[in-house]
C-alpha cells in the first residue's frame, strides 16, 4: 500500500470515505452474502418457470428469458443464430411489425443475442409496463410461427451478413464460426421446441419486484411447455479442455490468442481473476501504460495491444491473452507476454502490483454486477445450469484473500499444463506455440 502522506488531499478524503462506508454497510448487508443486497438476485419458482429478480428501485426494468441454447448446445451448426434471428418474429397472435411498433410506443427495446452457453431474449422498458413485456416474451418463446417466408426473406439474409462480418474480423475469427448448411425454418422450429421449455429457461428481471414478476409470469407463461418436446435434443456434453494450436491465414489483420484453463462460474478461482487483472493490458489511466504486465510488455513493440481476460462459462473457463496489431509487433509482444506470465510463475510479482491487481479484480467484479448485460446473463445462465444464479458480486470476497504465493502456483500450473494457441493473420511472421515457449 502507498503511504497516506504520499496521496493528494482528494485521494485521502476518498480513502477515508471508503473506510467509513465499509463501517456503515455492515448494518444492512445480507448476513449470508458478502455482496450488497441490491446486487444479488432473489430466485423463485413460478408455476414451473425459474425466475430471478433484483430491484434497484430505478425507473426502468430489464427482463430477459435466458435459455440453455448457446452455440455449445446446438445439435447442428447455426441453429442458435437462427433461433436468435427468429426472436420477436410473427407469432400466432401478432405480427412481427406489430410487436415492434407496440414496443416502440411504450418506449421499450427488444434485443436477442447469444453467447456460447445461453440464448437471451431481452426486453428493456419502463417499470410500469411489466405486464405487457412479460406477455410479449412468453409469446415470443412459445407462439412464434417460424414461417418459411420469414426465414427466406429476413433470417437467412441476416445470417449471411453476420457470417461475412465475422469472416472480415481477424480477432473474432479466432473465436467463432457459424455455418448455415444445416439450417432451415423447420430445423429451427424443432430446435425451438427443444429449447423453449420451462425446464430449460430462466426469466430474469433486473429492476422488477418479485411479486409483480411472479404475478405476470404465472399468468402469461402458462402456454410454455414444461419439458422439451420434438425430435431434437440439445448437445449437452460436459466441457473437456484439450489445448492445441490453430493457425488461420487472413489478410485483414493479425491476432494471436494464448489461452489456458481458467475460472468458471461453477468453480470460481479467485487467483485466476487476480492473475487476469495483473496481466490486464487495458490501462485504467490516460496516456500511460499503467501497472499491468501486458501493457508493459506491449509498450516495447509499438502498434500492438495485449489484453488478458477470463472467459467464464458454467463448467469451464478460459484465461486468454489476446495480442493484436501488425504481424511483427504481435510476434514480439506475444513473446514478451509469455515472459511476463513466466515471471509471475517465478514469483516476480511486487507486493504493490499485487495490491493493485487485487483491487482492480474486485472493482471489476463489483462494477460488472452493478448494471448492464452481464448480470442478467450470469444470473440466468446460472439458473439454467445449476439452479441458482451466479452472483458475480459474491466473488469479491474471495478475491481479497489472494496472496502472492497463490498467484505463483496458479501461473506455474498454467504454464506446465496444456495451452491453446490460435494465430490469425500473416502466418509467416506470427509465432508458433513452441517458439513462445508454451506446450500445446
Amino acid at each position: 500500500m502507498i503511504s497516506r502522506a504520499a496521496l493528494s488531499r482528494g485521494a485521502q478524503l476518498a480513502a477515508r470515505r471508503q473506510a467509513s462506508t465499509k463501517l456503515g454497510q455492515r448494518g444492512y448487508a445480507a448476513a449470508a452474502s458478502s455482496a450488497p443486497s441490491a446486487f444479488t438476485y432473489e430466485t423463485t419458482d413460478v408455476a414451473g418457470v425459474k425466475t430471478a429478480t433484483r430491484d434497484s428501485h430505478g425507473p426502468t426494468t430489464k427482463l430477459a428469458v435466458v435459455a440453455k441454447a448457446g452455440t455449445r448446445y446446438q445439435p447442428a451448426p447455426g441453429l442458435t443464430v437462427g433461433l436468435e434471428e427468429f426472436a420477436f418474429k410473427n407469432t400466432q397472435k401478432r405480427s412481427a411489425l406489430r410487436l415492434q411498433r407496440e414496443a416502440e410506443l411504450l418506449g421499450g427495446q427488444l434485443v436477442a443475442y447469444h453467447t456460447r452457453e445461453a440464448l437471451v431474449l431481452e426486453a428493456r422498458f419502463l417499470r410500469e409496463d411489466i405486464p405487457y413485456f412479460t406477455e410479449l416474451l412468453a409469446e415470443a418463446v412459445s407462439q412464434t410461427k417460424y414461417t418459411t417466408y420469414e426465414y427466406q426473406e429476413d433470417v437467412e439474409r441476416v445470417i449471411h451478413i453476420k457470417q461475412a462480418k465475422l469472416q472480415a474480423d481477424a480477432a473474432a475469427l479466432a473465436l467463432d464460426s457459424a455455418h448455415s448448411g444445416y439450417l432451415d425454418e423447420n430445423s429451427i422450429a424443432s430446435f425451438s421446441e427443444a429449447v423453449y421449455a420451462k425446464s430449460n429457461i430462466a426469466l430474469v428481471g433486473d429492476g422488477a419486484t418479485t411479486s409483480a414478476l411472479s404475478k405476470w409470469t404465472e399468468q402469461f407463461f402458462k402456454s410454455v411447455p414444461a419439458s422439451p418436446s420434438g425430435s431434437m435434443t440439445l448437445n449437452s456434453k460436459a466441457t473437456t479442455y484439450y489445448g492445441g494450436e490453430q493457425r488461420i491465414s487472413h489478410t485483414g489483420g493479425n491476432s494471436v490468442v494464448m489461452a489456458f484453463p481458467g475460472s468458471s462460474f461453477g468453480k470460481f478461482k479467485p487467483e485466476i481473476a487476480v492473475l487476469a487483472s495483473l496481466l490486464g493490458g487495458q490501462s485504467s489511466i490516460k496516456w500511460a501504460p499503467g501497472f499491468t504486465l501486458l501493457s508493459k510488455a506491449a509498450a516495447s513493440s509499438p502498434g500492438a495491444t495485449a489484453t488478458a481476460t477470463n472467459l467464464a462459462y458454467s463448467d469451464a473457463g478460459l484465461l486468454t491473452i489476446q495480442v493484436t496489431g501488425s504481424a511483427s509487433a504481435v510476434r514480439a509482444a506475444s513473446q514478451e507476454a509469455v515472459k511476463a506470465l513466466k515471471s509471475v510463475a517465478e514469483g516476480g510479482v511486487s507486493k504493490e502490483d499485487l495490491t493493485k491487481a487485487v483491487a482492480r479484480a474486485k472493482f471489476d467484479a463489483l462494477v460488472s454486477s452493478e448494471s448492464g448485460v452481464s448480470t442478467i446473463l450470469a444470473a440466468g445462465s446460472g439458473i439454467v445450469h445449476t439452479g441458482k444464479p451466479f452472483q458475480i458480486a459474491e466473488t469479491a470476497k474471495g478475491i481479497e484473500g489472494v496472496s502472492a504465493e497463490n498467484l505463483k502456483t496458479a501461473a506455474k500450473a498454467l504454464l506446465e499444463g496444456k495451452a491453446s494457441v490460435a494465430a490469425v493473420g500473416d502466418l509467416h511472421a506470427l509465432p508458433y506455440a513452441e517458439e513462445l515457449g508454451l506446450t500445446v
Partner: protein, 125 residues
C-alpha cells in the same frame, strides 16, 4: 380484403343464394375456357404487381414448379390453337386458390403497416 371488389362473401353467407348461384358459377368457370388449357383460376392473376411478385416468391417450390409447367403447357396449346385432351383438363376440385391466400396475407400486412403508420395515440388520463 381481396384483389378485386367481390360479392362472394355476401353470397356465401346466404345458403339459399349460394345454392342458387353455384350451378351458374360452375357453368361460367367451365365456359371461360382456362380449364380446357389445364390452368387454374389463380394462374390468371396478373403478375405485373409488386404484391403478386412477392407472393409468387413465397410459393413452396413444388407449387411454383407446377405453376410454371401449367403456364408453359397453356402457352403451347395457345400457339398451336388447340385445347388439351379431355382427361388433362383441370377438374373443378383441382381448381383451388393457391396464390390468393398469399396475396391476401401480403395485403393484410401492408394494411397493418399503413394503420400503424397513421395511428394516433389517445392517452387515457
Amino acid at each position: 380484403m381481396s384483389a378485386y371488389p367481390s360479392l362472394a362473401p355476401f353470397v356465401m353467407k346466404r345458403p339459399w343464394l349460394r345454392n342458387m348461384l353455384k350451378p351458374v358459377a360452375n357453368w361460367y368457370a367451365n365456359a371461360s375456357g382456362y380449364r380446357q388449357l389445364g390452368l387454374r383460376a389463380d394462374d390468371l392473376i396478373l403478375e405485373e404487381d409488386e404484391q403478386v411478385l412477392k407472393a409468387l416468391k413465397r410459393l413452396p417450390p413444388q407449387e411454383a414448379y407446377d405453376r410454371v409447367y401449367r403456364l408453359r403447357r397453356a402457352v403451347q396449346c395457345s400457339v398451336t390453337a388447340k385445347i388439351l385432351p379431355k382427361d388433362q383438363w383441370t377438374k373443378p376440385e383441382e381448381d383451388t386458390p393457391y396464390l390468393m391466400p398469399l396475396i391476401e396475407q401480403l395485403k393484410a400486412e401492408e394494411k397493418e403497416k399503413e394503420d400503424l403508420d397513421s395511428l394516433t395515440i389517445v392517452k387515457n388520463h
